[in-house]
Symmetry: C2
Subunit: 202 residues, 2 copies
């Protein structure tokens, strides 16, 4: 595809991701998409056969970006430091968006679980891969005694992901960081993975 | 209103609640509503001016029913027993629906937070009242040494509600009770509120 076409496709994916996140996929109309992506109907249908194909492409792109984010967050330092960095960065991502939109995967899980098998299969894969990456670091942090080790790493990983999604839901509802920060701070104490006193790093 | 009219209105509210829960409010069409409520267009518009008014009436009714459920779950026994009963009953509610629909308030929180102020105000109220009722029992359970008391009751209550919502999300996505049971079991251990070994009661 020529560079101009690729640029248009990328602009459509970026704009569509934002409007899907804010309104939900099912509630987003083609007119909403044209406005959000600043494109013409002809260009939209040149690149995608319709909303279903576009939404799947958006979800696949966000899946790739989220896995890259996770790998970056979990890459450096001790396993305990990596887990703390992930929780801090997750909170920052939503602060930066001022709690508009929330988590596209959580939103789509609730929107599509009972209605769209293709979307829910992709979102299930995201949750599985996400939980597996957290579980790996939890297991390592248990070996380095940076996190409690009286419970299976898989159970703690599932709890971390669930608490984060529930905290994002409440932060988005109240448009305030308090419920999310509160949940993550409390969770870290319960996990015996206390936040750094000066967690000023990004 | 004559008894027949009240019965029709009740049938509309019950059917609408189920379809809203499964498909989301925005994605539910008037035709979906007619089918789900087994009513005529004339009857539907006799009782409600449109989908917005019907959805608000459904949310208000579900709010009342959920608060009654909470009060029943939290009513008897010691504060610690009351909290454990609530978590067990919450899990059972979703097992019985086979994880179709999930939590109407959680779904509506993610669907309406950025688009429908009337819905999100009502859902915020539900989360506030729910968290306050849990917080009250947590505080009492801290006094009776049935739950850890090194953290504020308000923080533990926020965490309990968030974990439940995140666990329901994952159970609904996988159509399996495992993530929800796993989250709640792990949470109870972390809260030092262990499940009863024989939790066979309803």
């Amino acid at each position: 595809m020529p560079a101009k076409g690729l640029k248009t496709k990328e602009r459509i994916l970026t704009g569509a991701s934002q409007i899907f996140n804010r309104k939900g996929i099912a509630s987003t109309s083609v007119n909403d998409l044209l406005q959000a992506t600043q494109t013409t109907r002809g260009n939209l249908y040149f690149h995608f056969s319709g909303k279903q194909e576009l939404a799947l492409a958006v979800l696949e792109r966000e899946q790739r970006l989220f896995m890259e984010f996770l790998d970056r967050a979990l890459a450096e330092g001790t396993p305990g430091e990596a887990l703390k960095r992930f929780l801090r960065w997750a909170c920052l991502r939503h602060q930066r968006s001022r709690f508009v939109g929330g988590c596209l995967f959580g939103n789509t899980a609730l929107e599509a679980s009972d209605t769209n098998p293709a979307f829910s299969a992709l979102v299930s894969q995201v949750f599985n891969d996400w939980t597996a990456k957290i579980e790996e670091r939890v297991r390592q942090a248990q070996q380095t005694h940076e996190i409690r080790n009286d419970l299976p790493a898989a159970n703690l990983a599932t709890l971390i992901v669930a608490t984060l999604e529930g905290g994002i839901m409440q932060a988005r509802l109240t448009k305030s960081e308090a419920p999310l920060k509160n949940c993550l701070g409390t969770l870290q104490t319960l996990l015996q993975l206390p936040p750094n006193p000066s967690s000023g790093d990004k």
